[in-house]
């Protein structure tokens, strides 16, 4: 009897200790990020980035491949040579069903042929080859178009998921950004991006990518590439703005995204995207 009582008391005591220990572990303060964006009340402290949701639209049927966007992007964001936040690819499908894709220097100087000086003085009507006049025979270009490319600012981002230090993230208004003060330059995200839209900055040694010109759009301007586009092939806007042009276009045009099979849910939509575009 006595022994039994003693046993029970010991058990309760040790159980109490264990419970206290357990409580201590549980009592470690909840990490701050458990407080989700939608838990935050929109009010005086929170800036206007909850009022917007940005979206990008590229009309490939209007792109003339002049490269103005690539040049503007480099000036606006100081992108180093041979690295690109946005670039333009040229697709040409020839008579024999070959798809020729090229993007000389990302389209920085347009797509002018190298022997332009010669072309300017020669009266030859149709210089051969898909790069120029159109080619002959089975090299005749039957279909061609330019496809500007950039970060797709996916909803289901493969790149932010792999970041070991949470330097890359999706902002509340839908822009995928890189916090350069936290980035350790491991380049996991460069590998993870199926669109090849990230690079490691050769001097800063951190990941860099298109930010949809975050410093412009948050001041009511358009991204640099959109402002310089001479034909209006690049469009940008706010989904939360009921009267925006982009909302009307998204509602009425036939849209596609790059690599839809990957389920990355890009928020960079395309009009007139051919099936040959990868």
């Amino acid at each position: 009897m006595d022994k039994k009582k003693k046993n029970r008391r010991a058990f309760i005591k040790s159980a109490g200790h264990a419970l206290a220990g357990l409580l201590m572990v549980v009592a470690i303060p909840k990490p701050g990020w458990a407080q989700r964006i939608h838990d935050i009340e929109v009010g005086e402290e929170i800036p206007d980035w909850l009022d917007h949701y940005w979206v990008y639209l590229i009309d490939t049927t209007k792109c003339i491949g002049c490269g103005a966007c690539v040049r503007a992007d480099k000036r606006e964001n100081g992108v180093p040579p041979m690295f690109f936040r946005t670039w333009v690819e040229r697709y040409q499908i020839t008579e024999d069903n070959h798809v020729h894709v090229d993007s000389p220097d990302g389209g920085y100087g347009g797509f002018l042929p190298e022997d332009l000086a010669q072309l300017l003085t020669s009266a030859e009507k149709d210089p051969a080859g898909p790069g120029r006049g159109g080619g002959k025979g089975k090299n005749k270009v039957t279909k061609g178009f330019f496809v500007p490319k950039m970060c797709n600012h996916c909803r289901n981002t493969p790149c932010t998921q792999v970041c070991p230090v949470n330097a890359s993230y999706q902002s509340p208004d839908g822009v995928v950004l890189v916090d350069k003060t936290r980035c350790i330059g491991c380049s996991y995200c460069v590998q993870a991006c199926p669109y090849g839209s990230r690079y490691i900055h050769p001097e800063k040694h951190t990941a860099d990518k298109c930010t949809w010109c975050y410093h412009r759009i948050t001041k009511g301007l358009m991204p640099a590439c959109v402002t310089v586009c001479p034909t209006g092939a690049r469009k940008f806007g706010d989904l939360k703005d009921e009267s925006s042009e982009i909302k009307k276009l998204l509602a009425t045009q036939r849209l596609n995204v790059l690599k839809p099979e990957l389920n990355t849910e890009p928020f960079c939509f395309y009009i007139g995207l051919d099936q040959s575009v990868r």
Binding site: V141, S171, T181
Partner: protein, 172 residues
Amino acid sequence: MRTPKHLKRALWIIALLFVAGNAVRLLAVPESFGQFGEFRGAHLSEERERDPVHRGSEVCGECHDERLEEKNNGAHGPIPCENCHFQPYAGDETHPEAHPEISQSPDRSQRACLTCHQYFPARPQAFPQLANFPEHIATNGPKLKKDDVGAHTLCVHCHNPHDPKIDLGQNG
């Protein structure tokens, strides 16, 4: 009964882990982390801080207002000045010293125009483009009814870059 030694030790270890874990958290997690999500909240404001470089045609129009109006009414209306004058305006009041690059930058070569106007099969066919430059001069030069057509080798000899469409009815 005394608390068994091993239990005490376990409790100490747990307490130590608690303190050490929180200390590491305090040191490693930046201040505004978690404000809006799983990232450093302050970065949002840092990212938007930078000044825009491209100011658009209106900035140039403050001084070159006639040129701006001319351009906006022409076929090149949607093209910002910066596209062809290359250097965006820094926003400096002192001028033209402030924009020597701009004043020198307009590329008058055919190359500058042809980045947009050279014929490519990949270009939308509705866009006005030149398939053959010598032919362009040969067929269009005489229409201008100028004497020295042979000397007109640059596009800007015949076309005003700010209002490029040539109205033959008026010119000819």
